[in-house]
């Protein structure tokens, strides 16, 4: 057996993965550009669709004063944070929703014979093409609404918002990874992944509008509340749950760690170890 130089460990391993990620992203981007017209048209459609959603909130506030105790700029701020967090997850990591498909088709086997983490290969293996409109609009609305609520004056809060958006993306990632990993136990798990997909509309409005049971679910069971609502409270300086806002990065990390463990557990089951 030929001797190979050892694979890097520790920080060098991280550098190896980061470098590989750029190689994968390049491949994903080139694949999108194989169909340039489709790419442009789909993203314009996506932009209009999201414009309509933001427009609806604007229309509601032509007669309403507040929703769940939040005024127009605040509701739009929360909505924009959720758009940004969701679109970052969607653009970079949406392929985790294909785990069920990979299991059924046996594509997972291909990933297991490469000297890389299989989940890394799943998420890096495909860049989505049709959510740039949500990202762009989310950014614009966040800046405009952020100025209206007076966020621009405090660089610390701006930095917090950036961190909160990234944490929010991790929350989306955690929920969808957990939902997709049910594929290791169910032959057909599309009902679960679809439910997670549809439930994310709960994350876009202030949680105050839901009854207590729904709020508790969205906080501690399926933590969509931490995608935008809780972290926004620190930036907005309002709301009753500011102390929960600070927990956002922790909750996001914990949720993702839990989802990752669930995925590893499922993978172990797939490979026939343990259980």
């Amino acid at each position: 057996m030929r001797q190979l130089e050892p694979f890097p460990r520790g920080p060098a391993q991280l550098a190896h993965y980061l470098r590989l990620y750029t190689v994968y992203l390049r491949v994903g981007w080139l694949s999108l550009m194989a169909y340039p017209v489709d790419f442009v048209v789909r993203n314009l459609g996506n932009l209009f669709w999201n414009l309509a959603s933001v427009g609806a909130i604007w229309v509601i506030f032509t007669f309403a004063e507040c929703i769940g105790g939040f005024d127009r700029a605040q509701v739009l701020f929360i909505y924009a944070m959720s758009m940004l967090a969701r679109s970052i997850w969607h653009l970079l990591w949406v392929n985790m929703m294909s785990i069920g498909f990979y299991v059924q088709q046996g594509t997972l086997d291909r990933l297991l014979v490469r000297p890389l983490d299989p989940l890394f290969q799943v998420v890096a293996g495909y860049v989505d093409n049709d959510d740039w409109g949500e990202l762009a609009l989310g950014l614009v609305v966040l800046v405009v609404a952020g100025r209206t609520v007076g966020l621009g004056n405090d660089p610390l809060l701006v930095a917090w918002t950036g961190l909160a958006v990234l944490s929010g993306s991790l929350v989306y990632a955690a929920i969808h990874l957990a939902a997709a990993s049910t594929a290791f136990w169910m032959v057909q798990n599309s009902a679960v992944t679809r439910l997670a997909w549809d439930m994310d509309s709960f994350s876009r409005y202030p949680l105050d509008i839901y009854p207590v049971a729904v709020r508790l679910t969205l906080t501690w069971v399926v933590p969509f509340g931490f995608a935008a609502y809780y972290p926004s409270q620190l930036a907005l300086g309002t709301g009753t749950y500011r102390y929960l806002a600070l927990l956002t990065p922790v909750v996001a990390a914990a949720a993702f760690a839990g989802a990752y463990r669930f995925w590893r557990h499922g993978l172990g089951r797939y490979q026939g170890t343990g259980t």
């Binding site: 030929r2 694979f7 470098r19 994968y24 491949v27 086997d109 297991l112 169910m186 490979q271």
Partner: protein
């Protein structure tokens, strides 16, 4: 020391028992009930470095399961597997760096992009040093004519061209062991020939160990020095392909369409296998008896309408072997 050691390798799959409907779906989530299916039963073999082994068997015999166990995709239920001295499942990443894999049905090529992009990606995945990368791609250009398709998107390639690319991709990082799962399935004669030539060349010039599953006896005859046959999860044959061919490969199959239902007696040197539709099926040894002689004898008994002669396919060979017939 052998490159691959399998000791009483056994794999059971747990198939969930479930009824229909959401209720039973949910119930099985919490109180699962399974039945066990044994896919591989105490299979043992050892493969030396540089050997080229054909692994054959019918569909569902356990071929793919074996490949998955050797490649570290699955963990065995019991028994032991070592590849290059390590447990391929426990040390999956270390093992993955030393092996190459072609799954006939599951491509690793980037569908929408030119062929070179796949190799560019793999070069980074396996950290192939620049000199090895250039030397290897040059060899693939030569032996597999990859230069002709290098800049073409994969989706525009023919099946044969795609398989050449798959093969090259599996060998790019100088693996010590290469597993090929049905690499010639569905290919035309020319493409099959090119792939066999490549495998012969590379197994002569390098120390690579090749583990090949196939349905095509010609793959085995031309490429392999050893054949392992499994049936219903058990190893039933482990010898050289020359022996296999001597014992079974000379056999041919004669189908005779004739009117009437009278059962003919098999001419000397042949065997009556049965009847499919209106055709009587015989097998015979080409070395011992020739078709005209057979027909002359049969013609006395039957009024022959039509005749087909074929070489025995792997399936019939396998059926004869596990049927317990001594050659």
């Amino acid at each position: 020391m052998p490159t691959i050691i399998a000791e009483r390798l056994t794999k059971d799959y747990r198939i969930p028992r479930r009824g229909h409907g959401v209720g039973s779906y949910l119930r099985t989530l919490f109180t699962p009930s399974y039945r066990e299916v044994r896919a591989l039963d105490a299979v043992s073999f050892a493969i030396e470095p540089g050997e080229t082994v054909g692994y054959i068997g019918l569909n569902g015999a356990g071929k793919s399961t074996t490949v998955k166990l050797l490649a570290g995709i699955l963990a065995p239920t019991s028994g032991r597997v070592k590849v290059g001295g390590i447990d391929p499942h426990r040390e999956r990443v270390t093992n993955a760096r030393r092996i190459g894999l072609v799954f006939g049905q599951r491509s690793q090529l980037l569908w929408d992009l030119p062929v070179r992009e796949t190799f560019h990606l793999l070069r980074h995945v396996y950290r192939v040093p620049p000199d090895r990368y250039h030397a290897n791609t040059r060899r693939f250009f030569e032996l597999l004519e990859l230069d002709a398709v290098w800049d073409q998107p994969v989706r525009l390639l023919s099946l044969g061209q795609k398989m050449r690319c798959e093969l090259a991709a599996a060998f790019l990082h100088d693996p010590s062991v290469v597993y090929l799962d049905e690499p010639t399935i569905g290919l035309d004669v020319l493409a099959k020939g090119a792939i066999r030539e490549f495998l012969k060349e590379i197994s002569q010039k390098t120390q690579v160990t090749v583990f090949l599953t196939t349905h095509d006896l010609r793959d085995i005859e031309e490429v392999c020095r050893r054949v392992i046959l499994i049936h219903q999860g058990s190893l039933v044959y482990d010898r050289s392909p020359q022996e296999l061919v001597q014992e079974y490969g000379q056999n041919a199959r004669l189908e005779v369409a004739a009117a009437g239902d009278a059962v003919p007696t098999a001419p000397p040197g042949s065997r009556l296998e049965g009847r499919t539709g209106d055709r009587w099926v015989f097998t015979f040894d080409r070395q011992r008896v020739r078709v005209p002689e057979l027909l002359a004898v049969l013609g006395q008994e039957l009024s022959i309408r039509d005749v087909t002669v074929t070489g025995l396919d792997l399936e019939s060979v396998v059926r004869r072997i596990y049927g317990g017939e001594a050659p």
